[in-house]
Amino acid sequence: MASVHESLYFNPMMTNGVVHANVFGIKDWVTPYKISVLALLYDMTASKISLPERRRLNKLILPLQQGPDLSLGQFLKTVEECCPQTAYAVKQRLQEMADGELKDMEYFFSTLPTPFTAFDSEAYKTSVVGLFMRHMLLAYNKLSFSQVYKLYKSLQLYYHSHYAKPADGQSSLPALVADDSDMDLTSTEDTVGDRIDREELDTPMHESELRSDNAPSRGPLSQKQAEYFLARQAYLLKNDENKALKPAALQEELNNMLKFNPDFAEAHYLNYLNSMRVQDIFLSAHCLLHYFDRLILSGNEGKSNGDEGYGRSLRYAALNLASLHCRFGHYQQADLALQEAIRIAQESNDHVCLQHCLSWLYTLEQMKGSDSTVLTEDSVKMAAHFCLPYLASLGNQSLVQQGATQGETAHKLMDALKDTDILHWKHSLSELIEISLAQTTSIWRMYGKSTMALQQAQLLLNMSSLEPVNFGVQQNNTEAFAVALCHLAELHAEQGLYCAVSHILQHLKEQFPPHSQHAKLWMLCNLKIQFERHMNEGKYQMAEPLVTAISALNKTEGLYRKAQVLKALNRSTEAYSVLQRLQVHCETTKCTEVVIRVMLSTAELHWESSGFSTALPLLLQALALARKHHLQSLASETILHLAFTQLMLGVPEHALSVLHEAIEPVLAHGSVMDKGRALLLTARCQMAVAGFRLNGKGPADFHLAGLAVDTLNEAAGYFSKLNCKERLRDVHYLHALLHRSLGQTSQCHKSAMLFRLLDQELQSPAPPVSMRL
């Protein structure tokens, strides 16, 4: 009864009532697998093996000794590939032991060559093999009788479970063999992980009572297996989340591991990472603290509260907590935690930790939306001083980002990027190289050089990573990749290549599943593309619901889009108030791009009320701003607006000359929509210059009219690419007019018919010939 209520669980590792955290410090325990390795080594020294086979076996020894425990089947398979004869001998020897008695195993250990006597063999005491053998012999000799007996029992189990397997698990074996057939040394480890995955899938919990009872229990992992598992999963989480176990499965695996080895602190850390994945603040905070509680214990051995002792982990514990809160957007909490980390680091003179804190500090300031340039500069200087290239160039990058948004001159930014790039390549900071490429893409895009942006994005995506490719993970799923891919998608959308866009988005969706950290990037990108498309096609009603979704992801962007929709739906007053609000907001946050866009939109609103002259100063201001910040695409957009205003004000000659300035960059870098609009405008200017009147009087200049027809044709091509029917209708209308005045009746009829068709389809009344750009 007593043992029913309270397990008399007794922990032998416990001394003084405290379980030593690092029971794993003793690494050498004799296991059945190790016995197999010993048998292999023994056979290698005993028998004659041909040279190439011996060479292959020699290459095998180290991974076998240091790798995680393998099942007998895997082990024999590996050996067999190198030397079938030895594999057979090993199997034979194991069989002798397993089918015999305890004394057979004891005999085996007694016949092992003693490393101290065998001077000329490979098993000499200082060799790798000799060291391993000595460890094993020592560990074996330390075992008590009952332990030896247990070892023997487990050896029997190990041997027989391998040979019993085909009887009940016919189906699973071929799969394993198939895996093993193309197995070389590096991928040996890979299959272990896969096997775990498969087991995970194969045995759902409590499927049927009898089956789960018969199925071999999924025992605890050995330390190395556990370490390997953790390292692998952590690596995958960092680099390619999709290949890692699903959050729930990973959680279960970790729970299992922690149940057997509650002292395995690293598992708590992985648990923390896993909880972050599913945005579980509660569990992730819990696991993080638990991890550091554990770490403090293990770090305490023999060291005082100094640099290396647990004082160090305390600092990093606070710092990690700060980063956790930062990640979840709790800036105030993060700030407090960071202050704490800084204080402790200062007290113990830990400059490296302080430096980390500083870089977090400016990140935090940035996230809170305040200007942190000075802090960042300090941080970069200090990092350079303490030889922390990673932090230094990270700081540099963030400076570049701030500079870019605040209108730093382009050549300075590019210089800075180049300098940091040199630093990256020197120190092989592959992660930062990626970020830098993504940043360059963004900067080029911001400056409106789409070709350059495209080239940089492609460069990043096609670059082979500097890091060694582990676990078959080729592509990283870092933020940089997400950013580059999003740019790529948007660039394609600008050119009207929607099929390619959907491919890219599909890839993004797979690579960054919706719950993951960077998913918001592509979500926003996707929404923006859809929105633009609907707006271009004139489906304003369909664009409207997207505004709410965009606002959820990015407030400023959402507000801007809202204004656009309102404008398109002719709700000018509302649109105007939204734009005013937005402008005030953006001017305080120094969001120049949006400010210019807002100005342009406001100008368009003025047009609607025929306030062309009031729009002019606004546009000039926008132009000045765009030029100051080198935002070429926005500058040319502004010029288009200016030209249109001038056209409407009745100075088409000026408009045409202004247009000449913008048409080149637009055609080179602009989106299809921009190109079409620019050409349409040019045509209208040409018509106006040619003295064309709406009342149908013939033009004064036939040459110019001919030019206008060509321009219109080109514009029509662009618009039809985007399925932008409203503008196509305008084009057809102008076409018809031109043809009539030129006396080309048949073409005139054709255009008129096209116009009529589109007009019927669109149903909305045609605006008086385009009061818009």
Partner: protein
Amino acid sequence: MKMAALCSEYGDLVQIKKQLMSVISLCKERGLLHSSKWASELASALDRLPKDELPPSPPFTEEDAQDLDALTLAKSYFDLKEYDRAAYFLKGCCSQKAYFLYMYSRYLSGEKKKDDETVDSLGPLEKGQVRNEALRELRVELSKKHNAGELDGFTLYLYGVVLRKLDLLKEAVEVFVEAIHALPLHWGAWLELSNLVTNIEMLKSLSLPDCWIKDFFLAHMYTELQMIKEALQKYQNLIEAGFSKSTYIISQIAVAYHNIRDIDQALALFNELREQDPYRIDNMDTFSNLLYVKSMKPELSYLAHNLVEIDKYRVETCCVIGNYYSLRSQHEKAALYFQRALKLNPRCLGAWTLMGHEYMEMKNTSAAIQAYRHAIEVNKRDYRAWYGLGQTYEILKMPFYCLYYYRKAHQLRPNDSRMLVALGESYEKLSQHSEAKKCYWRAYSVGDVEKMALLKLAKLHEQLNESDDAAQCYMLYIQDIFSCGEQLEHAEVSTALRYLGQYYFKNKLYDEASLCAQRCCDYNDAREEGKALLRQISQVRDQIETPSADLFAPLSNNNTPVRRVSPLNLISFTP
């Protein structure tokens, strides 16, 4: 009242006594020692039965007769802990009793081997792999029988235990409920069930048999779930219904009082318990905690010596000795005894926490953290361990970090002022004044044990120059201190009076100010200031008496804050 009704439903106490007697013999036959101990204790609290009313021995079937020899033999082996041997001779027996003993022997044999094997483990690879190998087989066999409906109350209980050991908790709960329905009087099944119930909703959702023993279970459950009021009510009902002599109930009530920190009540009950049952060791660790809190050194020392004489290798004894050493500030020795308690039973929650406290005293923070973490591992709801962790980090000067732990503790004990005060202090250190104020105020509202919350709140207000609020808090503080009657060591009445005096003086309420100043003179540390203030007041009063001062008199009245408590109240709560 309800109990009385229940009694009439189930017959009188005589009936209950009879039921207990029969279940005792049933449990004894099956080697369920703890259940029979519990039932016997309860039975002995009821009146003796006359000879002719003794319950008849259970009917003796043909099957029983068949298995009689095997059963007798096996039972004697079982009693000598030769479980395998007992199981061997019981194999093939068909009576229910023999079957239970057969399965139970196999189960216990597995448990024993597991414990033995842990010592001989083959290193970390095997750590945790050690398990009761018999469990799986037992589960298969029992589930077959269970599906066929062939299990009686005892075997159902065993099935539940097996399921629980296999971590199949949901199934285990179902089976235990079933076992209780089959045999309501078996306390072991109730107890096992209580370990699996995690919250009140779950408790309510269980369908339990309507038996008098259910009240014992509910009372036990309420204590576990920290619903002390309800638990006390239940126990009171039981006592009124006729169980007044039961040592079990007395000890449970004492533990409940301990949990709500009603120390005097709990102490009285424990003293009564020791008089009735002088050789009792159960619950004595709780008793020693109380003595420790009260710093009753001689009593604690007497208790420790007494228990050592009875049995020095009991967990409770070790804890008592640990407390004893701790009270004498011999923390190394105290830690040693807690360690010994943990060697006797590593799942002993209290010892882990207490050891953590000892390490804290020794300034060995990392060992303290480890001990607390272990306590949490054993029981996630141990608020003291969470609180201890928080304190540890506070000592390490990480106020933000310790917030998490205090919050955890507070979550578990929402009405405990100590956690709230600790939270408030941390917030104060982080300059989160509004949160700190909330915490202190809440601590005062839920009944401040240490009477510190108000003082801290007042000081915080003082710091923030919110003089009205500060004055009010000091007021309440003084009121609080005097109303509780006893003299507290760390009371800072003088500080409060000093501040109040200055406050009234500034607000030109000279009568009140002089009253406070006079009171100040009662305290050594504030005497000089009190006198100085009195002098100042008399000076100002002299000026006021000059006619020009009349102009200011109405003004000064208007200036007084509206929220302030009338200072004349002070008289009413002077000691």
